[in-house]
Amino acid sequence: MSDQNNLVPGQTQSVPFSTVISMVIGNVRSRIGRSVVTLFGVVLGASFLMAAGTGDILRAHFAQEEADRLSAATAAVNVLSELGTLDGRTLAVWVAKPSRRTPWILENINKLGDVKLQIYSPSSVLSKTVGNSAGDLAGALAGADALIVCNDGVDDAAPLPAAVDGLPGQVVMDLSGVFDPEALAAQGLRYRHLFGAGALGELEGMPSVKLAAGSGRRTWLIVISLLVSGIGIANALLMSVTERFREIGTLKCIGAQNKLVVQMFTIESALQGLFGSVLGVVCGWLIALTASAFNIGWGVVWSNLPWPPVIQFAVICLFVGIVVAMIAAIYPAAVATRMVPALALRSEI
């Protein structure tokens, strides 16, 4: 026992993390009602943030999709007007570079008349759904009235392959305007491009999928809602300090370090932040999803959800929720550590 006569810590006195956690869980469980109410505040704040943020993401995403579908329909109509009628025609389709629009364009062309599509494409999916597949460009061109080049998004002018020479006097329709019109005219080909690079550029300039893409006013609303949840947590923890006055005092009386008291509050708060924001993220996502489905229909929304930015934003929400909760714990924890232990002993049972 000789080392205990020493008035000096010989050993670090850290309570294991697992013990602190189980103490915190015990406390939350014994005051479950209030914990749930606090949690609900966090859920509200986090779901507001999540709904606003993912609402932006969805809106931008589906605006892009709508614009793409519209331009695909326009391209198909342009093909029709170029050829007069599509009934009984055979069209060679060279999908040099497929894009999201490509299948929509071909589907639309199919709808506009009794047309036969001979598709030469690196992606076999296209020909299965909208036409026949050809092994090479020459195969696709056999008996064709016109060639449609789907070269979406490729800017560098590619030379037309020699196989096109077998298509004199026919229309080459270029969906991105990469060919040199004069060279084609010299070959005796009629040439149109159905939407140009300029139109694509416009599409790419659609609203970017970022937080705060919306108005400044809504950003404020989000900040305020987070503040309100933070204050809610702080208030609940302060109540907890008052309520557990005796208990915390007793812990200090039997030798708990201030660090432990701070840890208990920070962890309790962080747990509430974590669970609250997980629930909030789920709720907020459902709200945003429902709102956008209300505008454009469940089918469209389900078929094409922009998962990566949504998940990224959900992670941000979780992080923000936990950080706000932990900041909220600072003041109550400070109050608890400043408490004089002897006073806690006086209050009666």
């Binding site: 008035l7 006195q13 005796r246 030798g255 002897a342």
Partner: protein, 264 residues
């Protein structure tokens, strides 16, 4: 949220070691010098302690007597480092505890002093065993080590079959014994017992008194016990009577033995 203690702080404490060791050899376990404690209650000032000079030697068994409200608990809180005197000094093993920082003070309460509180002060949401192992865990003991020792101590106070019970489901006497077990958890060198037999029947009360006196005689633990119980006086080396925040009289064991039963 770092789980380890500030290294620089530990270094600073280690640097103070030699000086502290020198003082440690003083014979005095507990010493109070003119300790005064006043409480401000609105307009009124309550004088709970009006200058208490008390010196307790290492391994001594001291009983503290006095009518309710004379400042026994207040004095214990001063000695235990739970409260600060309005004036005066408290020395534990020769060290002025006013000089300790919060970390050292917590260490003192945890490792050096075992405090049996007047009204138990168990943690209601924890079982008897958890209550007893808590100070050990604060002291850095491993969980299974602490559990084994906790079971041991609780069995010694006769609660071997109540390990998993929460305080709310125990009688006053049983809670009292858990409080005793908790105070002894880290083998303290000083035990402060604030009416440790107040809620016990004669037999259990005697057992607790017996345990405290064994601790004192065999392990050299300094015991200071507030009591109204005359049986407790017969095991004491000294009996100090407190009246109205002052030491009224100090009697040695020899005097008490003759007058047992008549002391007030």
């Amino acid at each position: 949220m770092s789980m380890s203690i500030d290294k620089s702080k530990l270094e600073a404490i280690r640097a103070k070691l030699p000086e502290l060791r020198d003082r440690r050899h003083s014979e005095n376990s507990v010493q109070t010098v003119d300790v005064t404690r006043q409480f401000q209650l609105g307009e009124n000032v309550i004088h709970a302690l009006r200058g208490v000079d008390l010196t307790v030697k290492r391994g001594e068994y001291t009983s503290l007597m006095g009518p309710s409200g004379t400042g026994k608990t207040t004095l214990f809180n001063m000695i235990g480092g739970l409260d600060k005197p309005t004036a005066g000094k408290v020395f534990i093993d020769g060290v002025d505890i006013a000089q300790l920082d919060p970390f050292e003070l917590a260490w003192l309460r945890c490792r050096k002093i075992g405090y049996i509180f007047q009204n138990f002060r168990l943690i209601p949401v924890m079982t008897a065993l958890e209550n007893v192992t808590l100070p050990m865990i604060f002291a850095g003991a491993k969980a299974d080590e602490a559990r084994d020792r906790g079971v041991d101590i609780l069995t010694k106070v006769g609660l071997g079959d109540r390990l998993k019970h929460k305080p709310g489901r125990m009688s006053g006497g049983q809670q009292q014994r858990v409080a005793v077990a908790r105070a002894l958890a880290n083998s303290p060198v000083i035990v402060l017992a604030d009416e440790p037999t107040g809620n016990l029947d004669t037999k259990t009360g005697e057992e607790i008194i017996e345990q405290l006196s064994v601790l004192c005689r065999e392990r050299g633990v300094t015991v200071i016990a507030a009591t109204h119980d005359h049986k407790m006086l017969s095991v004491s080396d000294r009996v100090i009577s407190l009246l109205d925040g002052r030491i009224e009289k100090i009697r040695m064991r020899e005097d008490i033995d003759i007058k047992v039963g008549s002391i007030r």
